[in-house]
Structures are given as structure tokens and as C-alpha cells.
């Protein structure tokens, strides 16, 4: 068995037997890693606290056939401000779920890792309501499925763009309109997020269309992943119980 070191962000953990946990992490060099952490549910284990979801850690693992074995863990950032604030925890959990669904096991994914880490850092310090939206739209770009946002996805005309349909590949003009109707401000914000202007958008404070931009991003990401994101449709999220972007 090979020993390797990597950093990671804990995406989720599940119980295994009496005292162990299976921990799923996003890493830059090894993609999604699923490893066993032994004895972590006993109160005396130091590793247990470090392997809670949202923890950004560096670790030493033995490569196993299906599951790796996590031996040493040091915490880099515990992201306590995310854990202790429900309004930040909801979006953070959605980011973890997206990363979990998107990453393939044992395939390096440095861009996805950097996106997730950056988004969590921003979420822990920024008061902008567009952090999750920014993550979702940028995620599509990292995955290579960036929607067409600068012109009509169907006819290619420059606009005005009045609708969004992920099935058509992006924003649509008045003639080609399908799917969700969208406001002009939303179109502008998405164009800036994907055009390298995310930092500027986040620095502006709340826009009236922030919710819409997030909802559209969620719609596109759910279509790309071909599944509903559980964390985005529960009472901890801004949409509340049963709320849906569909």
C-alpha cells in the first residue's frame, strides 16, 4: 500500500461500526477521497474533531483498494464562523454537496478544490448574498459546461436576453425565449460573474436580483449533475422547506 499526503476539505462523514467513520474529502491532487478514520467517535480521539464536515485539513493516508485509511490529520482552517451561523451554514452545505456530486474519486481536481476553498473562505468573511451564486456559476465554468450568457444561446443574437433555459444552453432572446423569464439585472450579474468580475459583484452589497441569480445557477447545476441538491431544498436554505428552483 502506498502512503500519500494531500490537503482536503471534509465533505461528509458516515458512521462505520462502533467507533469509526468513513470520511469523504475533496482534495486537489487525489480528487475525491473516501477514507476510514479509526476510533474517531471516541471522545479521546483528536482526529475526530478535525474530520468534521467543512474542515480544511492536511492529512496522511494509506491508499487502500476501495477505501483509504486516514492516519494523521492536521487542521488548516476549521471554518468555525460557517459552522456557527445558520445563514452561512446552509450555502456552505450546498457547496459541499456540489463538490461531492461532481468530483470523481482519485482524479486530480485542483481547479474544483481551489474553487471550493475560495468560496468557503469568502462565505466566512463576506456579507454578500451572492457567494453561493458565484460558486455555482463558476462551478459550471470549471466543469467546462459554462452556459452561453453574452448572446442568445439559440440564435446567437446579442439580445436583449430575457429568459434562461439550461436545456438550451444559456440565456435566450425574446424570439427564442423558453424556460425561466429573467430580469436584466440578473443577466448583467451573471455576465460579470463569468467574465472575471466576481470580486467586484461581491463587493457591491445586496442587489434586488441576488436570489434570482442563485436560483438560476442552482437550476443549471442541478441539470448538469442530473440530480436535485438536497441541501438547497430544506428549511436551512433560503428557499425553505420544499422550496424548489424547478
Amino acid at each position: 500500500m502506498a502512503l500519500y499526503r494531500d490537503e482536503g476539505i471534509v465533505l461528509r462523514t458516515t458512521r462505520l461500526g462502533e467507533a469509526d467513520r468513513i470520511v469523504t474529502l475533496a482534495t486537489p491532487e487525489h480528487g475525491k477521497v473516501r477514507g476510514v478514520a479509526k476510533g474517531v467517535r471516541r471522545t479521546k480521539s483528536r482526529i475526530g474533531a478535525r474530520l468534521e464536515p467543512l474542515g480544511h485539513v492536511t492529512m496522511l493516508c494509506w491508499r487502500g483498494r476501495e477505501l483509504d485509511v486516514i492516519t494523521q490529520v492536521e487542521i488548516l482552517e476549521p471554518f468555525r464562523s460557517l459552522r456557527e451561523d445558520l445563514s452561512r451554514l446552509g450555502p456552505a452545505m450546498t457547496m459541499l454537496e456540489v463538490a461531492d456530486q461532481a468530483s470523481a474519486e482519485r482524479h486530480a481536481a485542483p481547479e474544483l478544490f481551489a474553487l471550493l476553498l475560495g468560496a468557503l473562505r469568502t462565505l466566512s468573511t463576506s456579507s454578500s448574498t451572492l457567494v453561493l451564486a458565484g460558486f455555482l456559476w463558476r462551478f459550471l465554468a470549471v466543469e467546462g459546461v459554462s452556459p452561453v450568457v453574452d448572446s442568445c444561446a439559440t440564435c446567437g443574437c446579442p439580445g436583449p436576453l430575457v429568459a434562461f433555459d439550461p436545456a438550451e444552453g444559456g440565456f435566450l432572446c425574446r424570439r427564442c425565449r423558453r424556460g425561466q423569464a429573467v430580469g436584466e439585472e440578473s443577466v448583467g450579474i451573471v455576465q460579470r460573474i463569468l467574465g472575471g468580475g466576481l470580486r467586484g459583484v461581491l463587493g457591491e452589497g445586496e442587489h434586488a436580483s441576488d436570489d434570482e441569480v442563485e436560483r438560476l445557477g442552482l437550476l443549471a447545476v442541478e441539470r448538469h449533475l442530473d440530480r436535485r441538491l438536497r441541501t438547497a431544498h430544506n428549511p436551512l436554505s433560503p428557499y425553505g422547506a420544499g422550496g424548489s428552483a424547478e
Binding site: T43, G48, G90, R230, L236
Partner: protein, 166 residues
Amino acid sequence: MTKEDANRLARAIVEVKERTTICRTCFNVGVGERCAICADERRDPTVVCVVEDPRDIVAIERTREFRGRYHVLGGALSPIEGVGPDQLRIKELLRRIEPERVKEVILCTNPNLEGETTAMYLAKQLAPLGLRVTRIASGLPVGGDLEYADELTLGRALEGRREVQP
């Protein structure tokens, strides 16, 4: 084990299973409609300790420090696993506050992300009811060495420090 022993054991298990019920008030396990703790008049009904699982009650009872009542949620919120407030006995807890004249709710969920999430959610739900809502402190294991403590526990223990009486 003889065949007869095995049959006797099987009957005993069935009997225990049939007699074990879930308390209608706090959802602890017991026999009959109310568990031993809810039925005990000496216990203070105005302080309710909220736990995830009946096994947590056993652990807290062992401390012999708590003389109030309990409420078992039946789990913890976990958005990623799809466990929302409707799957837990949260409404049942809120319904107990007024008739039982509850003055304090102690949130005793696990010190992990799901437990903390549940505690924050409950604190928000209980806030408008005008009672004291507390969370158990997470500290260092007694008998352990400081140098072996993980940094999250140590950080919280520092935050929850108390005045030392001279």
C-alpha cells in the same frame, strides 16, 4: 445452548420487545405510556434537556447532576442526508413548552456539525417563546492531558472559560 434454552431466550426477547414502549411525552424508551423519568414527580418539569437519542439520556443520568426532564429528538438535522425538522420531534418539543411551564431548555445534542446545526435551529425556534435556552459547554475530558486535546475542543473550552473563585 439447548433447544429449550434457545426457546426460552427467544420468548424473553419477544416479551421485552412487547413491553418496551416509547414515552408519549418525551419519547424516551420505557414501559407503559410514560417513561420512568416523566412519571417521577420529584423531577423538575420546568427544565428540559433535549437529546438526540435515548442512549444520551442514559449517559446524562449517569452523571447524577441533572434533575429535570428530557426530550428525545430522534436524530439530528442533516441537510446533506435529507434529514429536516419534520423528521425530528421538534413540533412535539415546542408543544410541551406552555402546558409544562418549561423555563429552561438545555440543548444537549452531539458536539458535531449535525448536533450544532440542530442546536442553532432549535435556539431560533425557541427564542420567541421567552424562556432560557442553553447549550452544554464542550470542554476538555477530565483526566486527560491538555496537550492531547484537539484544537477545536481546546478553542471552545477557552471561549467557555469561567471565573475561578479564590
